[in-house]
């Protein structure tokens, strides 16, 4: 545990050093904004219970900083329960296209509305209001659709997949900043995008994007892949293991 902690500290520290050594000398032609991830691969192993993600950056230009993490897009189905003969049963549903499987963001100000217009937030997918969920079919009128859209956001917040409020971008000096995120244990795997933006005077003056891989590794990954690629064999092996366990327990009973 202590070693792991030290390893993490070391990583954070070394990325800080790297940043200072390689980014700072670029001052001759400075980029207005530069950032790096302490880890660019989040490994989901057998003991995975969530992971901290640290973004380090250097701001040379003027303006406020926004950092966004977005998971791979997929379709979501939102279902609504209604009371039916006393029991609560799913009665209606709406499917949404291309919703972010994970979303979190950090700001150097308290709220994105302080620095960006709603139109610009939506255009660049910045903040919770910008997460527009487009229904697959226009099944319901706007009033009902909004209920489903709100529910999708709320449900994902309850699942810790969307934030309730933005994280803070902290400045460690005039230029250097860091933002701390926490990926929960149920984080979906896939290719993530991390974006850092510089906002000045209501305009986005600079944007930088980096990729982050979140994936199963080691035993978990092998089991998961095997269960998908060779599902029959996987099922068959599960049955064999269970049969063996049954035989073994019977054998042990008999010996006693």
């Amino acid at each position: 545990m202590i070693r792991l902690f030290q390893k993490r500290k070391f990583l954070v520290f070394s990325s800080f050093i790297l940043l200072v050594v390689f980014v700072m000398p670029g001052k001759a032609f400075p980029e207005p904004l530069n950032f790096s991830l302490a880890d660019d691969y989040v490994e989901i192993t057998g003991g995975f219970t969530g992971s901290d993600l640290v973004v380090f950056g250097d701001r040379e230009g003027d303006g406020e900083v926004v950092v966004v993490i977005e998971g791979p897009a997929h379709d979501s189905v939102v279902r609504r329960k209604e009371r039916t003969f006393g029991a609560w049963v799913n009665r209606s549903s709406l499917r949404f296209k291309g919703t972010a499987s994970y979303y979190d963001y950090a700001l150097s100000v308290d709220s994105e509305s302080e620095i960006l217009s709603l139109d610009l937030q939506k255009e660049r997918r910045l903040g919770l209001l910008a997460l527009k969920f487009a229904p697959h079919k226009d099944r319901y009128d706007e009033e009902v659709t909004v209920l489903f859209q709100d529910a999708l956001l709320r449900n994902q917040q309850q699942n810790n997949l969307y934030p309730i409020k933005p994280q803070k971008v902290l400045f460690l000096g005039e230029h250097l900043f860091r933002a701390d995120f926490h990926l929960p244990s149920n984080v979906p795997s896939g290719e993530y995008k991390v974006r850092a933006l510089l906002v000045n005077d209501g305009q986005i003056v600079y944007e930088q994007t980096k990729e982050l891989q979140v994936g199963l590794t080691g035993f978990s990954s092998n089991v998961h892949k095997f269960s998908i690629n060779h599902s029959f064999l996987y099922g068959f092996l599960c049955v064999l293991i269970a049969c063996f366990a049954g035989w073994l327990s019977n054998f042990l009973v008999q010996r006693n």
């Binding site: 799913n90 709320r154 599960c238 269970a242």
Partner: protein
């Protein structure tokens, strides 16, 4: 200790699952019931998705029915021919069951269906067990395991075609009857992840008229195949069999069953049956509360398949 389940894609506490399956194993060791009907609701209570609970529980039942039927085989208490005929029906039933499961999933009603079926099932068995065990407290003891079954088989069943001889059970009966009983067991294995012993065993006694001594072993023998087939089909069509979860469940139930068998002399059968009935009814009540109480949020979101 937290462990990440590769198929359920979530972290669970190993101790919780282990203790839970050990308790169910203990109950099944004490009472000689399969316990599948308790494990699946327990897994749902601690937040495992119902679909994963059902698929994985099926594989745990392969282990427990294997262990049980080996014991009966050694004592020659299995009618293998009867078991094989039931198995054919059971395999067909588990095919149908998986399609019912997929269809309910498509409708978005699988969680509701699993809860509702469990409520009906546990409520029914629980109250019957409770009444029976309370009544038996006041009755004189009689030999439950008679060597011969005096049940009169209904003339309708005797008139069915494709009659087959089952020398071990001393029966001459249509193959459709054990096949149909196995079929129902197979459907239950796929849809609910249970062996269905509570339904198959009475059916074998009262409809087939099998000697009670052979019933448990023969039922367990065919449960290996129905749950095995359900496991493979859940793995192929749903990808909901979590081997890591299954192994914890199997280990827990083996340990629990050992303890259950070794302390069963502590308990007198009749009083303990009242206790089991109350456990079953309590699980049923909890499921009902969850289904009938207003949920925190009437909306729920899932990733589309």
């Amino acid at each position: 200790m937290q462990l990440y389940l590769p198929i359920a894609e979530m972290a669970v506490s190993v101790e919780t699952i282990f203790v839970l399956s050990a308790v169910v194993g203990l109950v099944s060791g004490l009472f000689g019931v399969g316990g599948g009907f308790l494990t699946t609701p327990f897994l749902i209570f601690i937040g495992i998705p119902p679909t994963v609970a059902v698929g994985t529980q099926a594989s745990q039942l392969v282990a427990s029915s294997m262990a049980g039927s080996l014991g009966h085989l050694r004592r020659h208490n299995v009618d293998l021919k009867m078991g094989c005929v039931m198995m054919v029906g059971g395999l067909l039933g588990s095919f149908l069951g998986i399609f019912i499961f997929k269809f309910l999933q498509y409708l978005g009603q699988i969680d509701f269906a699993i809860s509702m079926l469990y409520i009906l099932l546990l409520g029914g068995i629980g109250s019957l067990m409770f009444l029976e065990s309370v009544a038996s407290l006041f009755k004189k003891k009689e030999d439950v395991r008679k060597a011969f079954n005096n049940t009169r088989i209904s003339p309708f069943i005797l008139a069915l075609p494709y009659k087959m001889r089952f020398p071990r059970s001393k029966l001459f009966i249509s193959a459709f009857v054990p096949g149909a009983i196995g079929f129902i067991g197979g459907v239950l294995a796929s849809v609910l992840g249970i062996g269905g012993g509570f339904l198959i065993v009475p059916a074998m006694i009262y409809i087939l008229g099998m000697p009670p001594l052979l019933v448990a072993g023969t039922a367990l023998f065919q449960v290996i195949f129905t749950t095995g087939s359900a496991t493979i089909m859940h793995a192929v069509l749903n990808n909901t069999v979590d081997i890591v979860l299954a192994i914890i469940l199997i280990l827990g139930s083996v340990v629990g069953a050992q303890i259950g068998v070794s302390i069963s002399w502590l308990f007198k059968g009749r009083q303990v049956r009242v206790f089991l009935a109350l456990i079953v009814l309590a699980v049923c009540a909890k499921l009902m509360v969850d289904l009938f109480m207003a949920p925190d949020d009437i909306f729920s979101t899932v990733m589309a398949q």
